[in-house]
């Protein structure tokens, strides 16, 4: 018999656990044990590795799943109950600590002002990023970019009119506008190949720390709950508004380090695309949603604030590691 050749889209293996909750969950997914009990959940840090990995695993059942885990586990009521118990403290900590604005326009207007002397990750990588740091950055961003735009697609049935049409148009562009070779997730896989990384879906889940997982978990949380549609839209607006200038710096970093054409192209494409997406998201999606459902104003602001807060936490971890010459990842790439 021929050895089984893994198709590129094959489900990833379940990762190693990071504590009591994720360990029990992984055993449960393998049909080898019960779900974690209430005591384990009660003591968990909502932003810690154990809870964030467990939440990530619960959400991943709605995307691509895991090798050896049945597709129907997506709607296992016990898993949905656990997911809800993990989401609750995560959402509570975001609401309590990230919220800075009460209105969408205040939160978004702030993001439309570009700091002259930025200190963020893209500034660091542009000015002095080395190839190993760009590889680390790509590895941990791959937990999102290999499913780019997927968490946001959940919101489409929850929108109407201008908001729906605008969101669908931007998603269409994210999905390659009808061309498989232009799907943004595929452009990112090409970037990973340029950087000598393995572009297999889920490959760097274990390497990615809680700060990186929390960002993707926030997207899934906002996307999967209709009640959080305002937050999803605010989050998406924040991403599109900040992406273009950040992508310009990252494209520069890729060029300066000779990372490769596909690596540079992913970010160059996002400079141009997201300058458009920002306009459509603000003028059609945010304005359209506010027109239909003005009571979501505060939630749109919350989604934008939560995005910035979690991105800042990730930036702190990356820059602290890199400034001391250390890896920002949990496992080497």
């Amino acid at each position: 018999m021929e050895p089984a050749v893994k198709r590129p889209g094959a489900e990833p293996a379940l990762p190693p656990s990071r504590g009591e909750i994720s360990a029990a969950l992984i055993e449960y997914l393998r049909d080898a044990g019960p779900l974690p009990d209430g005591a384990a959940l009660a003591g968990a840090d909502p932003l810690g590795d154990d809870l964030q990995l467990a939440l990530y695993l619960c959400y991943e059942l709605h995307y691509r799943g895991f090798a050896g885990v049945g597709d129907d586990r997506e709607w296992d009521p016990e898993l949905l109950r656990l997911r809800a118990a993990l989401e609750k403290p995560f959402l509570a900590v975001l609401r309590a600590r990230a919220t800075r604005h009460g209105h969408a326009d205040e939160a978004l207007d702030e993001l439309l002002v570009e700091p002259l002397d930025g200190q963020g990750v893209s500034h660091f990588l542009q000015d002095k990023g080395e190839l190993w740091q760009l590889r680390e950055y790509a590895a941990l961003r791959s937990v999102y970019h290999l499913k780019e735009a997927d968490p946001h697609a959940w919101v489409l049935p929850r929108l109407w009119g201008r908001a729906k049409a605008g969101m669908a148009a931007v998603e269409f562009d994210e999905y390659g506008a009808g061309r498989a070779d232009r799907v943004h997730a595929k452009l990112f896989a090409d970037l990973m190949t340029d950087l000598d990384l393995d572009p297999a879906y889920g490959r760097y889940l274990d390497a990615s720390g809680a700060e990186a997982l929390a960002i993707v978990n926030m997207m899934s949380l906002f996307g999967l709950h209709r009640a959080l549609r305002g937050a999803l839209v605010g989050h998406f607006a924040a991403v599109e508004i900040t992406s273009s200038p950040g992508s310009r710096r990252l494209a520069k970093a890729m060029r300066r380090t000779g990372a490769g054409r596909a690596a540079e192209y992913f970010y160059a494409e996002h400079v141009e695309a997201d300058a458009v997406h920002e306009q459509v998201v603000r003028r059609e999606v945010v304005a359209g949603l506010l027109e239909e459902e003005p009571h979501l104003d505060g939630d749109i602001a919350f989604g934008a604030d939560a995005t910035g807060w979690l991105e800042d936490r990730l930036a702190d971890r990356l820059l602290a590691a890199w400034r001391s010459g250390q890896s920002s990842l949990r496992t080497a790439v």
Binding site: G118, R248, A273
Partner: protein
């Protein structure tokens, strides 16, 4: 675009012009660039580094880094 319907361009003083794609743009140096995006943002501030496309260079700047940009 249905025949007979004029192409819609959204103009704002504080940002790019938004034009329904696909577009072909003839530049002053005789070259032509094109985009088949559903919507294209054309630079009107003339600061864009990817002119004629907008790259958000029209934005206001602030001296201090802001919280919550991740950047």
């Amino acid at each position: 675009m249905p025949a007979g319907r004029p192409r819609r361009i959204v103009a704002r003083r504080d940002g790019p012009m938004l034009v329904e794609g696909p577009v072909e743009i003839a530049l002053e140096d005789g070259t032509t660039v094109s985009s088949d995006r559903f919507c294209v943002a054309l630079c009107t501030c003339r600061r864009s580094r990817i002119y004629p496309w907008c790259d958000t260079s029209h934005r206001k700047h602030s001296p201090a880094p802001r919280p919550g940009s991740g950047d």
